[in-house]
Point group: D2
Chain length 419, copies 4
């Protein structure tokens, strides 16, 4: 099993040799962009694309904002062109009229982005460009509209079918591992030794989705602990002095951390297939695994309790568990989906709310967001599709009997009294 990064990185690294010499092209960015969109072949196209990307690289925010604004306004669809093409198309749907329609409805900036992408390693730069755009577009409706084009193209380019699931372990390149350290968003990794503790032992696994053109950049990764029984606290799970077990001895795979890595790919979803594919692969490798659960934070719990005026005492384990169950089962957004983002993610994936544990995350962050409570979402192989569908169609939250009874066990007045 070869490591993708090494292979492909060489391919894209020093491989591309400019044809002839390239001097910086000093014409205005707008001119370069128009030229690139108008170019009839790749000959000068790739050169111009590289010019534009190089120049973008050294821009300060104000210049970037100008550049984006130019794309947003100067390279938008022309309503009149669309209207004309639509009229023809509506009259007679032919290949020619549909082609003209397609050309009219697509803003030139989409073609620009595709052409920029011809330059080797451009995809990575374009992802960073969108990261800038997302940052600079706050409160700017035109730039947010522009972002829809980036997102549209990225959803196509980062389609699940193009991604590769790879194990990340202590044999992975340092270059990739340092990104795991940097991107871990749930339980921070504070050193290479800490990282090693999550990768090297026989009862630890990590998997990432990678895209072949930027194989040293994880898109999303999940950390897994192989355990006997379902663990009830993350400090126990990550304890330095815990005893390591053989993978074959484990009956449970615990997904205890899932981190998205690329701000520039916000809104492009790959997480929902990650857990299921990892679970399927693990089940195949270790037939002893019977249970696939998460050990998840409940990021919105205390905020909700406070908003609802419900009193709570982090030391009162039993009440904390009831409140957490109640929150997960009943707190909803206006659209009827769970208020808790992590709950939305796993329930949307077809998991069910399985158990809640008080005192399960004693870190400052854990105390603050959920008074230390954590939750296990269970991925039950046989019910995941059915759960997903009921959740998708009628917002039904699947839960274990225990969770149901905990949630029910909070008398309304008890809530009030807590205020």
């Amino acid at each position: 099993m070869m490591f993708l990064a090494d292979i492909l990185s060489t391919v894209f690294e020093r491989r591309y040799r400019p044809w002839g010499t390239e001097k910086p092209d000093d014409r205005p960015m707008e001119t370069l962009v128009s030229d690139l969109i108008g170019a009839t072949g790749e000959v000068s196209g790739v050169t111009m694309a590289r010019q534009i990307l190089s120049r973008y690289e050294v821009m300060v925010d104000a210049e970037k904002r100008d550049f984006f604004r130019f794309l947003a306004t100067g390279l938008a669809v022309s309503a009149s062109d669309v209207r004309a093409a639509l009229e023809l198309y509506d009259k007679g749907q032919s290949k020619a009229s549909y082609r003209a329609f397609m050309e009219a409805v697509e803003p030139p900036r989409q073609e620009l982005i595709r052409r920029l992408n011809q330059v080797p390693d451009a995809t990575r730069l374009l992802v960073r460009m969108r990261e800038d755009l997302l940052r600079l577009s706050r409160g700017d409706d035109a730039l947010q509209a522009l972002d829809l084009d980036f997102r549209h193209l990225f959803a196509s380019w980062f389609n699940r079918g193009f991604l590769v699931l790879r194990p990340i372990n202590w044999e992975s390149p340092a270059q990739l591992l340092e990104k795991i350290i940097a991107y871990e968003a749930v339980h921070a990794i504070d050193s290479w030794d800490d990282l090693r503790r999550r990768l090297e032992p026989k009862d630890r696994r990590c998997f990432a989705f990678l895209h072949p053109v930027m194989p040293d950049e994880p898109l999303i990764f999940v950390e897994v602990a192989l355990t006997k029984g379902i663990p009830g606290s993350v400090q126990h799970l990550l304890a330095e002095d815990r005893s390591v077990i053989e993978g074959e001895a484990a009956d449970t795979a615990v997904f205890y951390s899932i981190s998205n890595c690329q701000a520039g790919l916000a809104g492009i979803s790959f997480g929902n297939s990650l857990i299921k594919q990892v679970a399927a692969d693990l089940a195949l490798e270790l037939p002893g695994l019977k249970t696939f659960v998460t050990l998840s934070p409940i990021p919105g719990l205390t905020k909700w309790l406070e908003a609802e005026g419900i009193g709570y005492d982090p030391e009162d384990d039993e009440r904390m568990r009831r409140l957490a169950a109640r929150y997960l089962m009943t707190a909803k957004r206006k659209d009827g989906l769970p208020l808790d983002p992590v709950a939305r993610f796993h329930l949307g994936n077809g998991a069910l709310v399985h158990q809640v544990h008080a005192g399960a995350d004693l870190s400052a962050k854990g105390q603050k967001q959920s008074a230390g409570v954590m939750v296990n979402y269970l991925y039950d192989l046989k019910k995941v599709t059915q759960n997903h569908e009921r959740f998708a169609s009628s917002r039904d939250i699947a839960a274990s009997p225990e969770i149901r009874s905990l949630a029910a066990a909070v008398p309304e007045d008890a809530l009030a009294v807590g205020a």
Copy 2:
């Protein structure tokens, strides 16, 4: 330098494990398609996509045509929806109105194709699906319109930036090599021994563009001979008993065969950057290489001579060369581009017409299409951009003085007399 195919094939080969058991879904194809487009998550999406692809795989042509027709008519854009969205967008260009516009103008079949592509290895199947579509859409305007959507997505997916240039040699997997044999379109490879003669000697090279998700499928490949001086005939170049030279001893790289491999990617261009990148790579590896030329067929020559009523004698070398030069320099399509497709390709790339050789291709095919005449197109590193631009803007055909004088040396009446 690792071979891509081996790495990625494992990834996509047996990696994907279905989550739970999948039974064939017997509902009508239309229902499955609608469900897939409407699916809210990947959970059931991937399953449905796989169902659709599996069912497609076993369809006969009539069923495929029905399926395509459904996509063409049932999943087209709705002119009224576009009109409504356009009106709103025209009134106020906001993120919301633009999003609604984008949704209205894209036919649901594009989303369908993207969702089908979530299944591992689906890209390969979709390329084959388009191959079917191109075959079945002849004379069917609606299906040809549908093809525009496939082509639009494929142009994005097979963007130059996603492709990988790989040397093909005698160490390449047999699985890939048999495709080189199958796809060679210019000078047929008649056996594994013949293939070996084109790959193994030190003065022979072959390069292909591959896409990471179908790494055992070359998209286009070029065969190169390293020579001293510019060769004047293909039989000499491919002679079994020729003497092999060291790559370091060569001063010329001859691109003597370029073959597109995927009928399902027709119209998606990658060829124009292939030669230039290969030339640049070779120049770097072998600094002794000074000249980069093709040894190309002239597929339209005899047909043109006959259409023009110009007599020719394949044995009369000098007159054949003049007629070929005249043809290449003057025979045009209505749009002003050269009549000869190979000339269009290389001139469009920035090459120039360098030399013509009579008796250069004595195969039956060569005799038939060009009375044995072949041509060298020269890729001059310093002039390729300029040539391309003059060709693109004013249809100017770059040519060597020799070719110019040959083309001029055919008196008009001589042409007539020849009739």
Copy 3:
């Protein structure tokens, strides 16, 4: 993981760059050899080793014989030196006396061979050198003694612990596959299509032992068919129109061809662990496999029958089977081991004689050597060690009851009558 695997690629990359310029050294071979043995460092050593190897490469047989003779006589151990060292050692066994002893008893040609091996890719050349030596040493006792030194070193270099077991399949490099075609010694492979039929179907496997420094040279390989039940004929097994089954559907793995590849490694055994390791790997991959058997030729059968004056009729299946069983169970060499070389190999490995089939190999070779009879040797996982030990210690031949009764069922006079 890739890094570890990637390591080898450099070996064959013509990576080694001579330090400074190397001119051919015209001094006599004997001088070069003496210099190399006497060199104090690698600096000039590698250069001289390369000189010697290059010069050897272009020698004709007479020159090679002279070279070998020089090694055999000029670089042998000195009996008087050994005697002196032995005396000292015998007086006082110290580090110093033992070191002097070791130096005295090893002929300088062993150090020569080791030093030649410092040149990258030299191992391959040395294997070929021994191939020459074996050929040229027939009837020459001194050269055969020299061969003992080669063999001694090769046994150490090609130790089982240094070999790698690799699957060979249709994704393997053409360069390796052509060697499989060339080396197949049991059932000839007559074309690339024939090869493909043995590698590509889901119910066919092939494995080879390779050495890391010559990874494109199989040392030994085995071809495996996955079947339902034990096959009784090779023509059936290799039939072009047979129906392919899924690997998971098979209950039996049939080792139907084992070929040694390197004449220069004659006498260095790796075959006995090959089958067992392949069986163990297959058992792990396909738990449905319950039976591991060979389908083997009986190369000495007809020769023995004729030598014994036993008549036989290839059409009389039942008698042929009895004679074959009798031959396998009773025909012995003077040392008590089975007369049949294939039987010696598998019984020595711990297999047992399981079944015999008449009309099982209808090829000319099969008819000639065994009147078409073939045999299955069974590798029974639980008994292989015990079988091996009984065979090794008391020459006991393990066999199935059926074979025993067949062997017993040939009345002595019937044998006589047959004469």
Copy 4:
């Protein structure tokens, strides 16, 4: 190409599946060893080898010493057997008598070590075993004699021709990099960040020799800085805030650290070809490199000054340089070789003493061993063989005129006065 490279991955994949079940064999170690040496095939051999290695793994030092002593005395050569074989051999040199001689002169423990090596991954364990032996054999002549057998076999197994030179960089596996941190013996690497500073910048390189059967274990590695001009201090070279240059801009490659990694391979030399091969590879990659030097410690300087009673003042740069030059040029061992071990190494390689720098290593270690002075040894491509030979034959130390005049510029009485 990939296939060839991929070969190794299996080695470490825990691929080896025991044939049948292995129970611990409780017989005495001596019995197991005798059985292994006497085994007639690999069948039980590998099993016994594994038993012995597993048991060794858990031994304490006293048990290991007993085990070694058994090998040293119980498995030594028999002087009487040798004498008998020698007599026969001396009478008539035949294949048979030579074979008998070879068998008699090789102690059975060599065959034992080779057989232990049949177990996958055993080589690594045997290297560790020798590490133990070296430690436990101090002052024990019999064990030191035993070590000669290990060393003899290891010299053959770790022959230069079997080693692979690999770049080590920030894309290398963490598992390998942590060993670079651990093994760096010259200028300690104190963290992953420090390591990164030595690997990642464009003007830094690192190369290691690896053996294919233990590819995650560097045998020796060298760290290289690419610079403009020859650097005069290591603190400058390793400064965190130095400015990085492009590799193409460098004219000098500085080998500033060379570390042997495997205590168990002591005395097996690979270092002398490492620098030269790395220099040759770099020269090819970066034609701008004209100078190849070391920046080396002078570990014996202050000790020698003190032994000689020569006074020195670390602050007096000029005198320190003279004393260092004098030391390097004149201080000798009894065998006429330089007293300084680093000087012996590089001069033996054909380098020359080029420059000395005071205040060049301000670390505590540098101050202590050489009062901060360092030296550049120059590898001049055209003179390296000649230098080596003159050094090897007549102990001539090659040096630059500057060094010669510095060394000469210390009046004898000045030395005395310094006392």
